[in-house]
């Protein structure tokens, strides 16, 4: 069987990739995808520890986390669509209406 360290390392690498994408990319869709990668890294941790401790709660939480991520993406894409209609761009450098 695969030791738990491998799953945690995979999760850490995925999280780092997502954080890098969210911090450096200027395209809003790519940033949303990076955030999803980070959420999935957390889900891998949930499922790995759930199996490691033989407790089903982690997998249930992973399911709920996936549902919340789906809701978040639905609202995020709708906001993006609205932004594209009003500002005609999805470049994060040009979207500054919430900056101070």
């Amino acid at each position: 069987m695969i030791p738990i360290e491998y799953f945690l390392a995979l999760s850490a690498i995925l999280f780092a990739l997502g954080a890098y994408g969210a911090l450096t990319r200027r395209n809003t869709i790519v940033v949303l995808m990076s955030i999803e990668i980070m959420l999935n890294a957390a889900n891998i941790n949930f499922v790995a520890f759930s199996s490691f401790f033989n407790d089903v709660s982690g997998q249930v939480f992973a399911l709920f986390s996936i549902a919340v991520a789906a809701a978040e993406v639905a609202v995020g894409l709708a906001i993006l669509l609205n932004l594209l209609k009003t500002r005609e761009t999805i470049d994060l450098e040009e979207i500054n209406i919430l900056r101070w």
């Binding site: 030791p3 999280f15 450096t24 089903v56 997998q59 709920f64 809701a71």
Partner: protein, 76 residues
């Protein structure tokens, strides 16, 4: 490569080093990844987390309504 990208790379590399280093340092007690059947997960969702399941459904419904409201075309 601008300063922002370099700072991001340094931050992410630092995070990765800390997390992977702590993974190597910690002595995980012996135990294997075990198989948990989907039947147990389904029972837990409906028996132990029934109310949470309903709340998640409400959240998704609200998100769907919000998404449709935000994305709808303006009537002219």
């Amino acid at each position: 490569m601008n300063r922002h990208t370099i700072a991001s790379i340094i931050a992410v590399a630092g995070l990765l080093v800390i997390v992977l280093g702590s993974l190597l340092v910690v002595n995980w007690h012996a135990g294997d990844i075990s198989q948990i059947g989907t039947e147990k997960v389904g029972n837990a969702v409906f028996d132990d987390y029934g109310f949470t399941f309903l709340v998640i459904g409400l959240v998704m419904f609200t998100a769907m309504l919000g998404g449709v409201f935000l994305a709808k075309e303006d009537e002219k």
